[in-house]
Amino acid sequence: MAAPGQDAKFFQRGKIEEFRAELHAAETKDKKFVKRKTVLKKIVANITMGNDMSPLFTDVVQCLGTPLLEIKKMVYLFLVSYGRSKPDQIHLVIPNFLQDCNDRNPLIRALAIRTMSYIPIPVVTDALNENLRHCLKDADPYVRKTAAICVAKLYAADPRRAEKGGFVEQLRDLMLDSNATVVANAVAALSEIGDRQDGVIFKLNLATANKLLAALPESSEWGQIYILDSLLRYVPEKHADAEVMAERIIVQLQHANSAVVLTTIKALLYLMNYMENRRLIDYICKKMGPPLVTLLSSGPEVQYVALRNILLIIQRRPTVLKNDVKVFFCKYNDPIYVKLAKLEIMYRLARAENANEVLAELQEYASEVDIDFVRKAVRSVGRLAIKVEDASDACIQALLNLIETKVSYVVQEAVIVIKDIFRRYPGKYEGVIPTLCQHLDALDEPEAKAAMVWILGQFADRIDNADELLDDLLYTFLDESVEVQLALLTAAVKLFIYKSKSDKAKELVYKVLKWATEDVDNPDLRDRGFMYWRLLAINPTVAGEIVLAEKPAITTDSDRMDRGALDQLLLHTGTLGSIYHKNPETFIRNATGKALKDSPALNAHSRAVLVPVARTQLPPTVVNVPGPGPSESHERNETAPPPVPDLPAPTTSKPTPPTPPLSSENASGDATDDGSDDEGDADEEPRGRANADPYSNLDGAFGNYLADEPRPMGGRQGDDEDLLF
């Protein structure tokens, strides 16, 4: 082990003048350059702390003459930090750079071009261009692999110039280099260039893809990731091409690095779209399961990435983890983000055979401490009842036990899901209504209150004191949220239809209709009030038929995301997009979307549901984030452009998401859905696309309960915030 450093003492704020003086003093009598090294370390420490050291530019640059590698590296670090802001002084170091570019030592040559390319200003790039061209053909692979990344840097700074310089062609040649590390870096650089909206298109043909695969076993783990990732740029023309390629990469599932595993899975999922051989597809699905589960013994951060991806993968390929629900049971000390992600997977994997085990777990979680987790567990119990008919009795009993705890948020969640259970199994569980009514006072959240009001109205004929209960609730009508007001309005109308003889019901409905049409500003509520009023006035019998019309039973069909949307999202396996279950172009500025490319080999169903890349350009609005933080202060950056005035707000802030799938009154299909999950990856049977928005079911499984759903912050209303620093 290297001798422990003793540099902590340099972590002190210092003054420019002092450092300058110390550097000058070090020019004489500096045995073994200890003095210079010390001052430079102090300067680097101050850069770290955020102190502007750029006034020392000329002084620090003087140290480049010192023949000590450590000093050279510190000066280079200084140049990387401040070089860009000193275009008029940077010429001082160009001769040093050029000398290093031609050093006999390959490490020095690489260091020189790496550092120069970090300073993307014309003076430096001009000097770099010619040297980089040589370095791309250097005899030493370390220099070539460094040069490959330098091209990506040049391209980022000035795409057109890099193209004119012929660097992209040189990169392309490097993909055929004899050294695997060089190949991998060339691929990484080309991918970066290809991902730019203004970049050269980077596609792979079969021959090149095969050459890259040949480099795979000799690549470093990171190199393997770059190469595997690039396979998505290859579009198989024949089923066999996709199949052979999948067989070649499948061994990478056994790699220790989770990113290699996930990227391999991404490539496999992609290639499966172009395959025909059912048995091979099944085999691959079976092979993917265990490595995905093994990711759960990595650090919690990687577990989280894996879980969010598993959630997507099992929707598209349910056979992958069909029998593994137990491994997703939460450990008491799992971090909360891991627990929440596991819960969703448990629900997805629940079937008649394992429903009891899952339910027992959910009940256990319902007594834990974290409120979000408990709520979601309670919801899941209700969702389980709806999904698995055999388990519904046990789930209802579990919910009633939970209500007995009288913990406010538990009761509220239970009421919300029980409402849906009533709709799923009409006539079966209404016996529990009296128990619910006892807890009316505990409900203070709009969603729970609205659910309870719905139950009161819907079953007003079976609840003896429905009129009294409703009357109580109406006291606060004008202060309620719109959600509750709408529910109260409908409930009062239902009550009146059931009990049209009752004076109390008459009085209530009149009162509510009057409020809704005269005292309330919300147009929806007012319109609905008028509508009911007229219905009742014209023909109360017909009104009854309309208001109490038989409702289609609820199903869990809408739980699963649309197949085309899944195919598209899975192209982003392992990336941020897969964490948020969003296509990157919808939340990251300048991100390019991806879509499956058509080819004769593309599976017919995949083609039928193909979602083209959405051309969403995030508007260039800018929001400054409040800063700086408590313990550090620094100069505000003056070069930041002034905030662009907000774009005119979109007419409707965002198309209201289609009514939450679960409660939508027009849910179609019948109530049996248990088997449907398992057929999900049958590629042959295209189902009609019912929904215009393929992403509408994205959050389906938990209704509109999304409090814990990971999502990017800002940018939710379409005007993306960006951090300007």
Partner: protein, 424 residues
């Protein structure tokens, strides 16, 4: 890819700051400090604000942070952070604020080397140590030939090993370490029991040794096709970069040229026939609202020649506990009010041995009648020369062209820490 890399201490001060791309200024660090360090309720290791995403890993009250501005590969970013942590541990023996501050210049060198423009590069510790050292090197003094050797290794097919390794005595130590995960219901049924195994190797072998490694394993791809054999069923295994995956896929042999020194050769997972070393039988009764009585028995379920060491049971008590009176026949038991648990420590428990804790917790009366959540009892322990999965190392063969003799040692350890949980 990664645009910026930071290390923060617990107070949110920046200890290391490296911008790989020009799309951020250093002040982006302030945003992280506000959003994560000074936020008491951070519920995700990834935070995305606008197009900017912060990935963080916490270790010893440090934050290792990567910032990106594109649709970054999240697994890669975290693996990179983990690797950085491992490199620091290997270089400095530990990673904490002190070691980071003491070596910050070296760390800058390292992160310039292991990441270029946000793309992780060769990060094999053995190779890094050949050219990134704490000693001062006079730049002209490193011979170009010496450097060529280094660069060839850093970019070569066995980037994890130097070619000039020499030992007087050639030895290899293999440690099979199994972590048992158990979740047992209050009724005593096993909800889940599985084993996460690591095979850790310390190879002190000269030259370029070719190793072959054999286990009594059988990889089960399809659980329905169970065969009859005494082989241990592994659900899955993952290997160090050095293992030839194609060989493994074709013939199930684990062949590799090991890195010099310590590394994790493989990881595996087993869920069938897991032998649970300790059996815990809790009886916990709430007596009215003022007392809880405990009788917790722990039994060592293995050969009496072996013994479990460092056994620690953490038995939860209600939040309104005022005092606990504990009696144990073996070890020491103590109520820890800060954590609401009784900690029962048994330095040693012989195979077949059984002992019981009895205790009574006194509760204060509370106004809110909140139900006690009853977190599970957690047991930590270690059992040497025992594998819960039944895995055995069959052989480790070393071939080297100089044909030296090598000594191999195998050790087995089964342990639990924070993952062996019994509900009651």
């Amino acid at each position: 890819m990664i645009s910026a890399f930071f290390i923060f201490n617990q107070k949110g001060e920046v200890l290391i700051s490296r911008l790989y791309r020009t799309d951020f200024k250093r002040s982006i660090a302030d945003v992280f400090r506000i959003q994560v360090v000074s936020n008491s309720d951070v519920r995700s290791p990834i935070i995305t604000l606008g197009s900017t995403s912060f990935f963080h890993v916490r270790i010893n009250s440090l934050y290792v942070v990567a910032v990106t501005k594109n649709n970054a590969n999240a697994a890669l970013v975290f693996e990179f952070c983990y690797r950085f942590i491992n490199i620091c541990k290997s270089y400095f023996g530990k990673i904490d604020e002190e070691s980071i501050k003491n070596n910050f210049v070296l760390i800058y060198e390292l992160i310039d080397e292991i990441n270029d423009f946000g793309y992780p590069q060769n990060s094999e510790i053995d190779t890094l140590k050949t050219y990134i050292t704490t000693e001062s090197i006079v730049s002209s003094a490193i011979a170009a030939e010496e450097s060529s050797k280094i660069t060839a290794q850093a970019t070569g097919a066995t980037s994890w090993r130097r070619t000039d390794v020499k030992y007087k005595k050639n030895e290899a130590f293999v440690d099979v370490v199994e972590t048992v995960n158990l979740s047992m219901s209050a009724k005593g049924t096993v909800l889940r029991a599985d084993v996460d195994g690591h095979i850790q190797m310390r190879a002190y072998l000269s030259g370029t040794p070719e190793c072959k490694f054999g286990l009594n394993d059988k990889l089960v791809i399809d659980k329905s096709q169970q065969g009859v054999s005494d082989a241990v069923e592994l659900d899955d295994c993952r290997f160090h970069q050095c293992v030839r995956l194609n060989d493994f896929d074709a013939t199930r042999t684990i062949s590799f040229i090991p890195p010099d020194g310590e590394f994790e050769l493989m990881r595996y997972r087993s869920t069938s026939n897991v032998k649970l070393p300790l059996r815990v039988i809790p009886t916990v009764t709430e007596i009215g609202t003022t007392q809880v009585s405990y009788a917790v028995t722990v039994k060592a379920n293995f050969n009496n020649k072996l013994s479990a060491t460092d056994v620690v049971l953490r038995i939860p008590t209600p939040l309104n506990t005022t005092a606990v009176d504990c009696q144990v026949a073996l070890g020491k038991a103590k109520y820890v009010p800060g954590e609401n648990v009784v900690v029962w420590k048994l330095p040693r428990l012989q195979g077949g041995q059984e002992c019981t804790l009895t205790a009574t917790a006194d509760l204060t009366s509370t106004t809110t009648r909140q139900v006690w959540a009853r977190p599970p009892i957690d047991v930590d322990f270690q059992v040497l020369m025992f594998t819960a999965s039944g895995l055995i190392v069959r052989f480790l063969k070393v071939f080297e062209k100089s044909d030296y003799q090598s000594v191999k040692w195998v050790r087995y350890l089964t342990k639990a820490s924070g993952s062996y949980q019994i509900r009651f």
